[in-house]
């Protein structure tokens, strides 16, 4: 072929990447990753699972596909088909129930989120207060930081029953457990964040004869917000885990903790349900995280150049 028309147009162009492009890319990546996971999941079952039957069918139903190998971990009990899990979401969550599994899980998730949310807010506030004290008093910092760290090395599985025993069964204990797990990342991050400004800013504030509270509200706190949000994103997941563990120990009927325990107990009769519950818990974590991220983007707007992607 003769000289292509392409030679006329410049090869090198300045490409602008608008912000929306970055968001689309993130979304596409997320979807592709999810599809990849599904592919691997079903791929494994395709090669080494039990015979494939139509959705929701019993053992007598016609076989659609017979995998060449048999791997124990890939059978329908350990690794239910993805479509069976989705199918189970539409079915009543237990015999004679009037709610579908999906509705039931959403209800449980919202309940758990409420407890986690309160624990999250209280824990964040506690973390902020502690960090503020530590930043203003070296003595307090040296005295209490070891205890703060030690508090997190005690496994929550051991601590939760103690808390429930001391405070009684119920939502309060659950909130305390969620608080317990969230205050630590916030304390550590803010202890750093409240000191994270250019030291010359402090000289500047002194030249204005600014008082300590003024320095706190106008310099330390705004400077620390990026650190705060990093900690809050960690704390979000931690508070949900805390709430779920707390519910279990605290005898709460309505939350995800109970749901997961029950489905675990009756796993053999309905493995899809446990997987669905796990999915619900994961989605709850993602949604909580996304909410905090949205707040972060708003609060931190304008501060620095947008990142390259």
């Amino acid at each position: 072929m003769a000289t292509p028309a392409v030679a006329a147009s410049p090869r090198v162009t300045l490409r602008q990447r608008p912000a929306a492009d970055g968001r689309t890319r993130t979304l596409v990546t997320l979807v592709l990753t999810a599809l990849l996971v599904l592919l691997v999941w079903e791929g494994v079952k395709f090669l080494g699972g039990v015979p494939w039957r139509p959705i929701g069918a019993g053992p007598g139903a016609p076989v659609l596909w017979n995998p060449p190998f048999r791997w124990a971990f890939a059978n329908d009990l350990n690794l239910p088909h993805v479509w069976n899990i989705l199918y189970a979401l539409g079915q009543p969550f237990q015999r004679n129930a009037d709610q579908s599994l999906a509705e039931y899980l959403v209800g449980a998730a919202v309940y758990t989120w409420r407890e986690a949310g309160i624990g999250f807010l209280v824990g964040a506030l506690l973390g902020l207060v502690l960090a503020t004290i530590f930043v203003h008093s070296r003595l307090m910092e040296r005295a209490f930081v070891p205890y703060v760290i030690a508090s997190q090395t005690i496994p929550i599985i051991a601590l939760a029953p103690l808390i429930v025993f001391a405070l009684g069964q119920g939502v309060f204990s659950v909130v305390i457990i969620a608080t317990y797990l969230t205050f630590f990342p916030v304390t550590v991050a803010m202890n750093r964040g409240l000191r994270s400004f250019d030291p010359r800013s402090l000289e500047l504030m002194r030249s204005y004869a600014a008082s300590r509270p003024t320095i706190y509200w106008k310099l330390r706190l705004p400077a620390s917000l990026p650190y705060l949000f990093t900690a809050l994103k960690i704390a979000a997941g931690a508070s949900i885990v805390g709430a779920i563990i707390g519910e279990d120990t605290g005898g709460i009927q309505a939350g995800l903790g109970r749901v997961i325990t029950t489905f675990n107990q009756y796993y053999i009769t309905g493995p899809e349900k446990l997987w669905a519950a796990i999915l619900a818990a994961a989605l709850l974590g993602i949604v909580f995280f996304a909410c905090i991220h949205a707040v972060e983007v708003f609060v931190l707007r304008g501060r620095s150049a947008p990142s390259a992607t």
């Binding site: 000289e203 004869a209 106008k218």
Partner: protein
């Protein structure tokens, strides 16, 4: 107790008497940063402090601004002790880096000292607008610091320092991090601002052309320990512009400052003056015998 809130016309705005500053080193030994500094700065003057590294010029500036306390001597600013002048916010300060708050817009950065002072919102807005117009950045009031170049950020810092119309402006090598062309432009800007506001300015620099171009007086300092070696009057006509930079007198003054800086350094290699005394003795013996 009677005190002067405003010095009279013939009273200096800054009076330093016998200022000394000693720092204790980690190993316990003492380092004399400043010794026996006496200096008077009159209202409306533009005084530069120039000297090699370690001569204590930044320390001296901070002593004037009450950010460091002197080990000995007296600082009187605007008729008051330095600490009260700082609490009364009699001066503004500009550092080598702009030190802007990156979570605030340009306008909000300029408003910062006014907020701390308790000025009401309408007055803050008006003053910030006026200051930004003074440094010719009024179109950038809603921008954030990261969107501005180094020179522009420094201009915002200057606008901020002038926001509460201080009696004195202290500047510590504010243009040290800028390139030469931007620096010359900023020097002209500061000239223009000084002309309009008639603020007293104390300017620390290690650039001889900069000091000569802008000042009414250049204070040459020598190091180890920091002392005032010489004070040179700059009699260049005002307003000063690019023509000034090319004038005969400008080069003469630059040379004079350079000699003062160099001459003093040579003298100081000879700490106890023995060499000089010996030379004198030899010379007089020679003359006598």
């Amino acid at each position: 107790m009677t005190d002067l809130t405003q010095p009279s016309a013939d009273q200096p705005v800054v009076r330093l008497t016998g200022i000394g500053r000693v720092f204790a080193r980690r190993d316990g030994s003492r380092m004399t940063a400043l010794e026996a500094i006496d200096l008077d700065i009159r209202r409306g003057e533009f005084v530069s402090l120039i000297g090699p590294s370690g001569c204590g010029k930044s320390t001296l500036l901070r002593i004037i601004g009450d950010l460091i306390k002197p080990s000995s001597g007296d600082v009187v600013v605007n008729g008051k002790p330095a600490e009260r002048a700082r609490r009364d916010r009699d001066y503004g300060m500009v550092f080598q880096a702009p030190v802007l708050f990156d979570w605030r817009t340009v306008e909000d950065n300029v408003k910062l000292p006014l907020e701390i002072q308790g000025v009401d919102a309408a007055a803050r807005r008006a003053t910030a607008a006026r200051m930004l117009e003074l440094v010719e950045l009024e179109d950038f009031s809603r921008h954030y610091p990261w969107q501005l170049s180094g020179g522009m950020q420094q201009r915002v810092a200057i606008a901020r320092a002038l926001a509460f119309e201080p009696a004195i402006l202290l500047m510590d090598e504010p243009f040290g991090a800028l390139d030469e062309m931007t620096r010359e432009r900023m020097n002209s800007e500061v000239q223009r601002i000084w002309d309009r506001t008639k603020t007293t300015i104390v300017f620390v620099t290690h650039s001889i052309p900069e000091a000569v171009f802008m000042s009414s007086r250049v204070v040459v300092m020598s190091p180890r320990p920091g002392r005032i070696a010489n004070v040179i009057d700059i009699d260049l006509p005002r307003p000063r512009d690019d023509e000034t930079r090319e004038s005969e007198r400008y080069f003469e003054l630059v040379t004079e400052v350079r000699e003062a800086l160099r001459g003093r350094e040579a003298g100081h290699d000879d700490d106890d003056g023995e060499g000089l005394a010996a030379a004198r003795r030899l010379a007089s013996e020679g003359v006598a015998g």
